[in-house]
């Protein structure tokens, strides 16, 4: 049995859902959880139900806001005391920034953004996409312990059965010292929606959207089904949408349950970024567009006609 620490981000008092996905997959290992910030009693219960043995709540001056240096020093304290074999986190904006630095503190290896994994005895064996998902490979980590792993949100799925852990809370005060790169302020984004990388449903527009204003028909549809709106590189490069909305090899790699591609032809670098979506719907006037080769349901038609009808149909059943 491997001894594993899972670092979780806390959002509105609860652990992020990717943490629960990871805990479910780790069933059978000795699992502790570490978090920074105020987690609610309900959040602690959920972690315990999903298998957390000890739950380390870390506090200290300077930890009110994220900083790569502060957070990595704080989590290192827990790792040093616990003697872990593996340390896991979700591959979120924060996880991607924090974990390489943390791994560097131990001269240790790290597997980025795995989409599946299992343990063979005490050894981690993961699967991860490379080249934006154009290929998959088996990944193993060697060298000094602990080994670090980040997991793509939505990839593992929620566990079907839960194995509860003790859920013993341990309050840990740490002194992180001087922070050289600190957040002065946070400017909210245009979208309050779930980020593309964590979205369950995405509706994306391509060059055929013609301009930025036309994205409102996607926004209206997204509103009805709780989707996040994305865009192709062609749409971003044409100035219809900001880069934060770009799906593809030079944008975001996404894996929602449902991906609706509107007026996207399906360039190889776009397909790479969305092909692992569970179900793909494509709407395009060109019956030979490459996007149709990846679509579960293809509609050959004009998006400006089809999308409003789609929105109305969704309204009937939602």
């Amino acid at each position: 049995m491997a001894k594993v620490l899972v670092y979780t981000e806390v959002h509105d008092g609860n652990a992020k859902s990717v943490t629960l996905e990871i805990l479910g997959k780790l069933a059978g290992q000795e699992i502790d959880v570490a978090c920074i910030g105020d987690i609610s009693d309900g959040g602690i219960t959920a972690l315990a139900e999903h298998g957390a043995g000890n739950i380390h709540k870390i506090n200290g001056a300077g930890l009110e806001k994220y900083s790569p240096e502060g957070y990595s020093k704080a989590i290192k304290t827990i790792i040093d005391k616990g003697g872990y074999d593996y340390v896991f986190a979700g591959s979120t904006s924060l996880g991607k920034d924090l974990f390489p630095r943390l791994a560097g503190m131990f001269d240790a290896g790290m597997a980025t953004e795995v989409t599946n994994f299992l343990f063979e005895g005490d050894n981690f064996n993961g699967t991860r996409p490379l080249f934006a998902g154009k290929v998959l490979a088996k990944v193993e980590i060697q060298g000094p312990k602990p080994h670090f792993v980040t997991v793509r949100p939505n990839a593992l799925g929620m566990p079907e059965s839960k194995t509860a852990g003790a859920g013993k809370v341990n309050e840990e005060s740490v002194d992180i010292g001087e922070i050289r790169a600190a957040i002065k302020e946070i400017v909210k984004g245009a979208s309050e929606k779930v980020d593309l990388t964590e979205a369950n449903i995405i509706i994306s527009g391509g060059r055929a959207m013609k301009n930025a204003e036309n994205f409102k028909i996607l926004n209206e549809c997204a509103e009805v089904i709780g989707a996040t709106v994305g865009a192709s590189r062609a749409a971003v490069d044409s100035g219809f949408a900001p880069h934060a909305m770009q799906v593809g090899q030079t944008g975001k790699t996404v894996a929602p349950s449902l991906y609706i591609a509107c007026g996207i032809s399906g360039a190889i670098q776009h397909l790479a970024g969305m092909r692992t979506s569970k179900v793909i719907v494509a709407i395009n006037t060109d019956p030979d567009a490459p996007i149709f080769t990846k679509a579960d349901y293809g509609i050959v038609g004009d998006l400006f006609k089809i999308v409003p009808i789609l929105t109305e149909e969704f309204k009937k059943i939602m």
């Binding site: 924060l94 980025t112 490379l130 080249f131 934006a132 193993e140 790169a181 190889i268 293809g298 509609i299």
Partner: protein, 262 residues
């Protein structure tokens, strides 16, 4: 200022990638190589900072194979002053590359005031080298940077996170900045720039020269394979307006009852 840029050479985004025969990497024999797209923003930001701070030099470093040196030649042609190439395979892991870059920077004899990198390389998509290199050099780092205002002493950096929100960092140099699309508009190399680049100093080092050996490998890959192909889906012709309502209703029905995603 001593400005450094770390670049990687990657297959063009339109490349059809195939696993090699023993499944340990991809087939690299007929690939068109380009500078990693995010690194172009790093080179451009370095050049802008050099222009604003007279007497500065821009040193560009790369670790990788020599079957093509497109990335370094492009950076020099854009205006970087000198280049360092650490020769190694194209499938080194993030730890080896970071350690090699650290060695190359130390070998240059210059103490970096600022290091620019891309936010990620679009080949192995590991997003580790910027933070790892900063940790190895005991430097702060800010990643996914879309805004840079600063001089030789301090900088205000905007880091993009989920939902397009921005974290605004205040840092003093030395610092490592990992750049995202949107930070600037990279310049094209001019013809005189390309001619001049041929005479700029390029230092060649081996992995051994920068203290990296096979024992430094931390991540091992095997079983490279193409993702499973999906079975062909259902396609509906809705060019005829009279049929559109019926077809869309059918697709929505399938999403609910067959795919069960709505």
């Amino acid at each position: 200022m001593n400005i450094f840029v770390c670049v990687k050479q990657v297959p063009d985004t339109e490349t059809k990638v195939t696993p090699n025969s023993d499944g340990t990497f991809i087939e690299t024999s007929s690939i068109k190589w380009i500078m990693n797209p995010y690194d172009e923003f790093a080179v451009e930001q370095a050049l802008l900072l050099k222009t604003a701070n007279a007497g500065s030099t821009v040193t560009v470093a790369r670790v990788g194979s020599v079957q093509d040196t497109e990335a370094l030649r492009t950076a020099l042609a854009m205006g970087a002053d000198e280049a360092i190439l650490v020769e190694g395979d194209d499938n080194l892991d993030s730890y080896m590359i970071s350690k090699a870059l650290k060695g190359a920077i130390e070998k240059s004899g210059k103490t970096p005031d600022i290091i620019f990198t891309g936010k990620q390389a679009i080949d192995d998509d590991c997003l580790q080298v910027p933070q790892l290199l900063a940790q190895m050099l005991d430097m702060p780092s800010v990643s996914v940077v879309v805004g840079f205002e600063g001089d030789d002493k301090k900088a205000t950096l905007k880091r993009e996170v989920e939902g397009g929100a921005l974290e605004v960092y205040e840092v003093t140099t030395p610092v490592l900045v990992a750049c995202n699309k949107g930070l600037n508009t990279p310049r094209y190399a001019s013809l005189p720039g390309i001619m001049k680049a041929k005479r700029k100093p390029l230092q060649n080092l081996s992995l051994g020269d920068v203290g990296v050996s096979g024992d430094d490998r931390r991540v091992k890959y095997s079983n490279f394979q193409l993702p499973p192909e999906k079975p062909p889906g259902k396609k509906f012709d809705a060019m005829d307006e009279a049929k559109q309502a019926e077809i869309v209703a059918e697709v929505v029905g399938l999403l609910r009852n067959e795919a069960k995603v709505i």
